[in-house]
Symmetry: C2
Subunit: 232 residues, 2 copies
DNA sequence: TACAGTTTTGTTGTCGACAAATAAAATGCA
DNA sequence: TGCATTTTATTTGTCGACAACAAAACTGTA
């Protein structure tokens, strides 16, 4: 009597969160391509559970704008809006500045330890030429700055922007993984020092410069091969 | 044959949205008090539908921070965080400034028509001493400015802030509905003119002043009767 | 062949029911 | 009586099933 149990007997309330986290990662990592349709029963079979928890996860993703749900029709992975990218860059730059300024004001000693930890991991990723690790560690670094700023409103918007950017960065790094991120390591170091020194104007300048670097780099990439963006 | 139909035969996909909108309004209008527990089957009976759509509405409200859901236990109306109000005021002020500046840059002629329409309704509400109408029309006015700024990232954060503030304003206006909002009418007029003139620095100054007025007024109120805030 | 109307197919939105998990009540023991 | 333990009860998380809706496939007619 072979009682195969492919689903490893998950705990009660963990279903939605598991599906949510998994789908979210796959969307942001472009495993699920923008515009592709999502079938609930297919997901239900894949995760070995009913459609109900799948649906709740999709509702959550929908309210965060990661999927668009057409009434009585399939839900769809949200498209990347290449036409209004300037609004994204604008908001991203402002949030870089605001969160870094606030970190200079409100950080505590333990925040610096965390920051340096993330920075070290980022430097390792750059040294190892590991594009995926660069993306995630860079994100963690700036998310930690936002946390140190201690304003949840800014933090949540910033995280959303970083996630939206994560999809762009996936396009970016998969096309050419060059050595430019080396500059970012130094800039990160300077930002940490400015935060530690409570130098708010310097934090503002450094964050703005850092943001401009990233924005211009992405824009250069987009201008370079426009075919790819039209294709999506 | 008496076929009573208390539930008016709603359309198919409208269930969740109806429950979501209704609960959201009741939470923001303090009909559902912060910290109060929400029973799903009770809501299901009240809305005349199954628990499934109620649940999806609650998930959505949860992801927007309006309710907090304890695992395997009741979900709860989110508390008002009186301790960290300064983060709220800070973000609100910045968003006032940013959205108004962007409206000066990117507005179109039809936006001004909409703005003047909201402004007229706000003036009417002030004239009629209708506190609830003041809250909603003021919100609509500033939301329209954000829309005219055409940056969905800022708009969504701003709307969230305005909604969080709506609960505070409910506390505020229900304790003393005075004639102070009269000043706001004039300030709104000045903001409209500055937007129309594309005067970005003036928009920034006016928005900052406007925000400070509101913030200080709420802070005065909170300092005046602290008993009420502790009670909640 | 082109097109309007009809049928079929596939997918979603909703339902009622059951089981797990927690809180409350009841019981037993010192 | 006070406390630990068991039992009950309530509420959630999940499931399988069915009906409604939209798109695709099909049919008949000009």
């Amino acid at each position: 009597m072979l009682e195969t149990e492919p689903v490893p007997e998950r705990r009660r309330g963990s279903g939605v969160k598991m599906v949510y986290d998994q789908l979210r990662d796959e969307i942001l990592d472009l495993v699920l391509l923008p515009g592709s349709l999502i079938d609930e029963v297919q997901l239900a079979e894949r995760f070995g559970m009913s459609r109900t928890p799948i649906r709740e996860a999709l509702v959550r993703l929908s309210s965060e704008g990661l999927v668009e749900t057409l009434p009585n029709r399939s839900t769809m992975v949200a498209n990347i809006d290449f036409l209004n990218l300037h609004t994204f860059f604008d908001a991203l730059t402002l949030m870089y500045r605001v969160t870094t300024r606030l970190a200079a004001q409100h950080h505590r000693p333990e925040d610096l330890v965390i920051l340096r930890d993330h920075q070290r991991r980022y430097a390792d990723a750059v040294g190892a030429q590991d594009a995926l690790a660069m993306i995630s560690t860079n994100r963690a670094f700036h998310a930690a700055i936002a946390e140190a700023g201690r304003n949840p409103y800014y933090t949540s918007l910033f995280l959303r922007l970083l996630d939206d950017g994560r999809r762009l960065l996936r396009l970016y790094y998969q096309s050419f993984s060059d050595q430019l991120p080396r500059e970012y390591v130094d800039e990160h170091e300077a930002i940490i020092s400015a935060i530690e020194a409570h130098d708010i104007p310097l934090c503002d300048r450094l964050a703005a410069k850092h943001a401009d670097q990233i924005v211009h780099q992405i824009q250069r990439f987009l201008a370079r091969d426009q075919r790819q963006q039209i294709q999506l």
